[in-house]
Symmetry: C2
């Protein structure tokens, strides 16, 4: 089926979903979870085809690990759907309301977007997560996954659609877009009027291309060139612990630290300790000359290093002479994701949080906390790095729009 | 100066504006208002050049009326700026906040977008309004007005910039983009990373072209093919009064009604009265055959009529057999702006407001109320008909984004 046909079916399904009660949607989520577990065998079998094909093509084991589904992983995915059922329904929430001076009653109410398109890369768990989140928020979803996960996604979506249909909601709440052709991505990006919002999830290249070419409104997610700034008043033990956590606890994710800035007043004391810790942890350091003199393992940092999201055990390091200089550096190289200061100074904390322009600014805490789960949202469709609509971790409310409901008694103007 | 240079200056100004206190911003708004009044002569003189040029080109008097500035109109524009000073500052508002189970303090705080671009047509009052609203919300603005108002806009912006600079804020808070070339619109649309959001204000053609070609996120405003649906349980006197108000009180605006749907059970009673009232008010009716038989003045309605935003004393009229059919019609032809039902039935009201997908749905009230001023927002930058970020009348909060501020005590994950 063409993307246009899929989108038209999604629009029809969306009308039913928009007025479905939370009870009905939660029943569907539970049914989806149960079906994923019950039909584990066929999903794992389909996934086996993708894994075998990936292996044949010489795909790296780390990517194959992301692609592979096991019974235990399907249980975890199903648990995720059950947790969504326990979350509050964003639809119907009254965001703002008042009675106007003329007696008109005004309410701004959350409503679903309608049809959400998600373009993503190899992880098949995103298929079920995205289907669950969009269904809970009353939206129909068009899933355009990676061709390398084609069999896995087809099996998962088939199982989910059957489960949804059994609860009385339209199966077209969840549809898969043909992953074998680049044209379908293009068609999604041009489906203005049929698709209400596109969310690309994946590498920087994918996101950039969607953001630049889409006529459908896009929520940009992801790229995080996150900094840890160690101020001259920082508790240096705290700084080291936050730095190591932010860099090494999970280097492949967008909220991991990619760059360290140290105030010159404490650089002499802090940097040797930090560089030794990095060496122990297997982190390659790209440093300016004043950093490089401290440790022969330091690689000279280029301009490009400071602009790089390594997503690996690598970090760029620079010494700055002031808070101002740190903020200037972050303004220049940061991607507006998550930026942290370690400081004992209230004034520095306030200055940093006020002036640094990012989705999240942190004081004396690791950037790794910038996450929908950690923020208590219960689920996350991604982390927005744009300023329009949603910024930072996106939970269920971020998958909705609003509508004004105005009630009068024959009011004219 | 090129759009890129202007945008870079705007970014620098935006950093100061982002942390300016409400008191400072309000001082600037008052100074702007005072200067517009004090320097009325030079603005009116500059405007005279635009008006003379428009007249020479045979521009219609109604458009010249929109273009013309008089001392009284400048006083009204200045009063608008003073009213903005009286509004609450959206910046710094804590939208959401909690202490997480691990003790991290989480706050979601409103922050300015940064740099806002506004592309608009002939009305020079928009220049001062948009400058005031963006400044109050802590944003720098790039104003790309019409070449037909070039002299007027240049004079107004010159006056505003001087007033702003005297209060200590950067004059580059407000900058004019060269209106003489189409290239500058294109440059604004391609200034991703420098301009945070674009708001086109004007005709459907302008808005469509910006929405389709911009890589900068856009807030779509305006087109309103608004319906009045008269249900079988409607108070027909109320229906007539709402209908006439919505169609005739100001036909040129986006919240005016463009289409009437009447339930067949009351069509026989209501339509003759409505058609007579339309005739009296000079409204041309485009009707389906069952409407046309009632009055020889009725013009046969084409499919295109039902999709047309007349913005004039014209209306399309159709008879429907049910609420369902009315909702189907609105779903097909509506532009998602403002849709009204006149009904005595609570069930019909609930069904209509739940199922009609529009920025505003009204029960027993004229569509003309869908307006930032009427909604009590104090000011309005436009009416969004998109679902992302803002939907319906946009006041000051809609000119902001948010930022998460996370405060810990050495928290690691």
């Amino acid at each position: 089926m063409s993307v246009t046909e899929l989108a038209q079916r999604a629009r029809v399904a969306a009308r039913t979903l928009a007025t479905a009660t939370r009870a009905v949607k939660d029943d569907a989520l539970i049914a989806m979870a149960d079906a994923l577990v019950t039909r584990t065998d066929e999903i794992v079998r389909a996934n086996g085809l993708d894994v075998a094909a990936a292996r044949e093509q010489g795909t790296s084991e780390s990517i194959i690990d992301r692609l592979a589904l096991t019974p235990a992983r399907l249980v975890a995915i199903a648990d995720g759907l059950r947790q969504m059922a326990a979350l509050a329904d964003p639809v119907g929430e009254v965001v703002r309301g008042s009675t106007l001076p003329n007696g008109l009653q005004l309410r701004q109410v959350r409503v679903p977007f309608g049809v959400v398109g998600i373009i993503y890369e190899a992880r098949p768990n995103v298929t079920a997560d995205a289907a669950g989140l969009t269904l809970k928020s009353g939206n129909a979803v068009l899933l355009r996954g990676s061709s390398s996960a084609a069999n896995s996604n087809a099996a998962i979506v088939e199982v989910l659609r059957e489960a949804i249909a059994k609860t009385g909601l339209p199966a077209d709440a969840v549809q898969l877009v043909d992953p074998s052709s680049r044209e379908t991505v293009r068609d999604l990006m041009r489906a203005r009027g049929l698709v209400d919002v596109l969310i690309p999830r994946g590498g920087a290249g994918l996101i950039r291309s969607v953001v630049e070419d889409s006529t459908v409104p896009v929520i940009e997610t992801g790229v995080g060139n996150c900094h840890i700034y160690v101020d001259d008043t920082a508790d240096l033990d705290m700084a080291l612990s936050i730095l190591l956590n932010a860099k090494t606890s999970r280097p492949s994710v967008c909220n991991a630290a990619e760059s360290l800035l140290v105030h010159s007043a404490v650089a002499g004391e802090f940097l040797p300790v930090a560089l030794a810790a990095f060496r122990n942890a297997g982190v390659t350091v790209h440093g300016t000359p004043d950093v490089a003199v401290l440790d022969e393992a330091v690689v000279p940092a280029t301009e490009e290093d400071f602009a790089t999201e390594y997503l690996a055990l690598e970090i760029s390091v620079a010494v700055v002479d002031s808070l101002d200089e740190a903020i200037e550096h972050i303004t220049r190289y940061g991607t507006g994701h998550s930026e942290a200061i370690v400081t004992g100074s209230l004034a520095a904390a306030n200055e940093f949080t006020a002036r640094v322009d990012a989705a999240a600014v942190l004081v004396n805490a690791s950037t790794r906390f910038v996450d929908g789960g950690e923020f208590g949202f219960g689920a996350e469709i991604g982390i927005s790095t744009q300023k329009l609509h949603a910024r930072g971790p996106m939970g269920l409310p971020e998958l909705t729009s609003t509508k004004y409901v105005v009630t009068g008694a024959g009011h004219t103007r």
